[in-house]
Structure formats: C-alpha cells, structure tokens
Subunit: 344 residues, 2 copies
C-alpha cells in the first residue's frame, strides 16, 4: 500500500491539468478585473511562502510587477500595519486558516485595497476575507508535508503571470506542462535506487537561483519535515557571500539547475563545489550539468525556465520520500507536526 505522500506526489500532473481546466479562464477574468497596482504584497507561511518567492520572479519578469513578501508579525505582534497605498494584497495558504495571514488581508480591506486569496479551501476564513478567490483544486491533502498544494499554488501564480504578460504563448506553455511533469515523474525509479546512499546524511545544502530560489527553499523544507535532515537553502549568489565556507569533502549539496538564464552560474558553482569535494545531487535537464553529479536527478527537455520550478521540485519531493522510507520513518506523519499550523 503506497503512502499517502507517494499518492499525492504522483497525483500532481493530473491535479495541475485539472486545475488549469477548471480555473485558467477564471484566473484570466480575475487578472483583468484587478485594478492596476504598483506592487503586490503577498502574505504566506511555510511552503506557501516559498510559492510567494516564486511569484517575486514570475510576476516581476513576466508582468513587471514588484512583489513584497509581507511581514505578518507587523500586524499580529506589533499592531503596526504599514500603509498599503497602490498595493495588490494576496494571501496564499493551503488551509486558509492561519490567523496572521487572514489579518493581513483584513487590514488590506480596511485600507480599501484589492485582495486575492489563493487557497485549497473556498470555505476558509482567508477566502471569506478576500475580494477574489482562486481555488487550488488539489483535493484534500492528507499527508502533513505539502506537495500537490505547493505545485498547485505555483501553477496559479504562473497563470496570473501568463495572463498579465499579454503573451498568449505563455498560456500555451502552461497547458503543455502537465504532460512534462508526468514525464519527469516517470523517471523516479532511478531516484529510488539512489536514496539508500544518503541514509546516514544529517545535513545538506540546497542551492538554486532566480525562479528556482523558491525550489531550493521548498526542497530544504521537505527534507527537514520528512527526513529530519538539517537542510539549508541558498541562492547561489548569497551562498558565495559566506556559507560556502561550510563545504568540506563529502558535504552533500543539491543543485537546482534547469536550462535557462541561471544555468551558467549554477554550472560554475558546481565546479567550485566539486573542487571542495562536495557530493553533488543535480536536478537538471542539460546533459553536461547532470554529468557533474554523483546523483543525477533528471528533468525532461523543453520545459521553459519560468515554469521549471513546478518540474524541478518533483525529483526532490521523490528523493525526500524515498530517503524517509530508507531511514525507516513514516512520511505521512512527521514527528510533532500538524497539518494546519495557526500562527499569530
């Protein structure tokens, strides 16, 4: 009997296809209906905050819209909500329950700003607070670790970027994505066979840049939740500003390096890490990049860089699942975690 987590990881191509069928036109109507704003403020926690990080690149590059990540503590702890003139205010939450995220949207309404909720529960307090609601259509997520709701959030944020870009080919690329995600997951047996090698790993670096900065953080979070490995995420740019000092022979490092504008920088970093003796696991489609890895985690050709975070997270999710199993851990119920975390 496969674990819930395995079922949910493998369901992602179909879920994304269903989401696009159900919501892509609705998202287009919302994108057109929202008033012009000078920037977006996104409130989110945990994996949803990683999705917001993706929006910083997707909305910035495709729609020219600057994205600020909200500091919910300003609302709940300091009673000092900032002025939100000219902001579009967005809450991203699987459950739609976290009081601090709801507080940011409530304040935005008081300030008369347009609000958007992206959530898996249209009946949640977050959805009730927002002017517009986009549902994730991911079905109930029964595993504690977020997988299918994370990629669904990325798909919604990508769809908004595509609509705002005014470039019809972006929507076409998005529609082709589910088949590409299925093709990536079809290669999972090779990853399963490698998981045992990392059974004794206690710490790990996860490095990505640009669109995949978010992927690095999300995979670090999956490794922490599922395998109790201390995983540290960095952008390759920040990594060279100090943390590279931690690398010693044998240090495991997962590099997220799909084809695109970040590939040259990631390849240079891979070289530096190999000279220091690091053990590289590489998520990539480029054969030369994969050849630098001790453990290649292959993607498929033809995924545009702006959508690569939806694909690149999959081999990492699968690795985290297999590593949990190799360590004898229960991937569905990590120690001391609940599905809904209510932070104030």
């Amino acid at each position: 009997m496969p674990t819930l987590l395995e079922q949910e990881i493998l369901s992602q191509p179909e879920r994304i296809a269903g989401l696009l069928d159900a919501e892509l036109e609705h998202i287009g109507r919302i994108a057109a209906a929202l008033p012009t704003c000078d920037y977006a403020l996104i409130a989110a926690r945990g994996s949803s905050d990683r999705a917001a990080q993706y929006a910083q690149y997707a909305w910035g590059a495709l729609a020219g819209l600057p994205v600020a990540l909200a500091a919910p503590s300003l609302y709940t702890l300091y009673d000092a909500p900032p002025r939100l003139a000219r902001a579009l205010v967005v809450g991203v939450s699987q459950s739609g329950q976290s009081p601090d995220i709801v507080a940011v949207l409530e304040d935005a309404r008081r300030q008369g700003r347009p609000t958007l909720a992206i959530t898996n529960d249209a009946g949640s307090p977050l959805a009730a607070t927002a002017d517009h609601v986009i549902e994730l259509h991911a079905g109930p997520e029964r595993s504690v670790a977020a997988t299918k709701t994370y990629t669904a959030q990325l798909a919604v944020l990508a769809a908004l970027a595509a609509h705002w870009s005014g470039q019809p080919e972006r929507l076409e690329e998005l529609r082709r994505l589910p088949d590409q995600l299925a093709a990536v997951l079809a290669g999972r047996a090779a990853i399963s066979a490698r998981a045992g090698r990392y059974r004794a790993m206690t710490q790990c670096l996860v490095i990505g840049r640009g669109y995949n900065y978010a992927t690095a953080y999300e995979l670090a979070l999956k490794l922490e939740e599922l395998t109790y490995v201390m995983a540290i995420a960095y952008s390759s740019a920040d990594f060279r500003h100090g943390p590279i000092a931690t690398v010693a022979p044998g240090t495991p490092a997962i590099l997220i390096a799909p084809s695109g504008r970040t590939l040259a920088d990631m390849r240079a970093l891979a070289g530096e890490l190999r000279r220091r003796g690091a053990e590289l696991l590489v998520i990539a489609d480029d054969a030369d990049m994969l050849a630098l890895a001790r453990t290649p985690l292959p993607l498929v050709d033809g995924i545009p860089e702006w959508l690569s975070p939806l694909a690149a997270v999959l081999p990492g999710q699968w690795l985290a699942l297999q590593l949990a199993l190799a360590k004898g851990l229960d991937p569905d119920t990590p120690r001391g975690l609940r599905k809904v975390t209510r932070t104030v």
Copy 2:
C-alpha cells in the same frame, strides 16, 4: 595579539557612537528631503540583506512604510527589471562594489525614482549611482566576516525609521544605545568560558522573530563563515510549519528573545524545544527566559525592542569568534572567502 575580528567586534559601541555623531542630522535631512513613496525596495546581499530584513520591521512599524527586498537577478540574469512607480530604491552594501546591487539603483534612476546608497565607501560605484549617500563610518573592515559594518547598517536604517516616525524619543533611544552595547560586550568573558562546550557542534538552529528575524539570519551566517557549522535560521512562526521536526535530543538551538512583543512566543517555543531535549543557548535580558538556557547569553535591561537587533547580535558574534578559536580556526580569513563578493 587579538585577532582583527575581536578588535572589530569590540569597536562597535564606539563606531556606532561616532556614526550617530557624524550622520544623525544628515540622515534627518535626507529623510525629510526624500519624496513621499508608497514603499521601499531594498537591494542587498549577504549580511547587508539581513540589515534590509531589519528595515522591513523598523520601517514598517515605525514609519508605516512597506519594504520589498529586491530580486537582483531580475536585473542581471533576466533583463526584466520591474516597474518601480512610487518606490524609494535603496542599495545597502559595505563595499558598494557588487554589480547586481548597483544595477538595481541604475535602473531606478532610469525610471526616475529616488535612490539612496548606504555604504562604507563613499567613493564606491554604488555611492556614485545614488541621489543620496549615507556613509557607515565603520572604518576599514579588515576581517572577512562583517560585524561592525552590519551594526552600522542597522543603526542607519534605525535612524531613518526614527526620523520618519516623527517621535523625538526614538532618536533619544538611539543616542543611548552605544553605552548599552558596551554594557552587553562587558559580559563577554562568561561567553568565552562556554565556547569549548560547542567545539564538536556541526549543526545548529538559530531562531528569532519580528525585529530579530534578521538577527537569526545574521548569526547563522557568522557561525557558517567563522566556524563552518551548518546553521539554519528561522522565524519562530515558520519554524513550527515543518523544520521543528529536525529537533532531536541534544540539537543546539540559539534563541534570540529580548524583551518585547515576541518574548511570549519565543518563551513558548523554548518550552517546546526543551521538551524535545534541545540544547538551548538564549540571547535575552529577561531572567526567566535566560533561566531556560543551558548557555545564557545575556543582554542588559532597558534596550527598546526596536533597537534590540543591534545588541542581540553582539553575544552571538562573540560566541562565533570564541568557537572559531576553540576549534583552532583563523577567524580573520575563513576558508575560501574574499572580503568583496561581486555577484551578477
């Protein structure tokens, strides 16, 4: 002969006093001269990016100004700078040399936006690009790890918040700070005596929230650079969303918990961590909070929460220095790092 790092750590109270003498009025004139903006976009890397994180809270809470952290890769890798209407654009960089930070300010000028550089080098490319320049007056930083330039950046960002707040007592609090910083450093011998206990530590959690979210990240960076420990920073809110699963008996965790709005939440987290058997190091002034620690890292009474990041980082810097010495490492020249990192 004390290391350069020791000299630079101990120089901070005097450097901050000198900075306030030299720049506080000048900062007031800049604060008044800048046009009203709807939000600030701050571009920074490494420790400077941690200082920008502090501004997100200080400018948000005291001045009502939302802060977005720039994604420099949008400029340098993706050739897709976002629209910056209504934004104040700020570059924070010790050296003022990093091409990606300069690129953000150059684009802001092209878009006709007001720009501000905060740097230790008034002759740097960053300073040359900006409308307004605030110097750090930290003197040459000869150690690779940033200490005195980091607290100087915090002081400048705090001074801007104080001026914008329109509350004269905030400026008074800032002027009292150098003596309080000296009092914190006066307690350093007790920290030196504890460093040997952590000689074999390979990983460590560092947790703070609100104003001290930045402190957690900055201390994690110091531990990585100076002691090669894999240190992971979290806000206490995000920590409960998954990473808490990594905590096992003996896991070292540094908690940054000065008096203020975050103390109750940090105390609750300390209880959870103790139940899981974590080894707590606690930076705090509150006696009850310090009593929860295996290793207390005391602050002094009376530091207002909004300025506490300048004080709370000091025991952590000192611990990182002493731990490097206890491990036989050279704190002035960590392996493989250069003082100026030029990222594009």
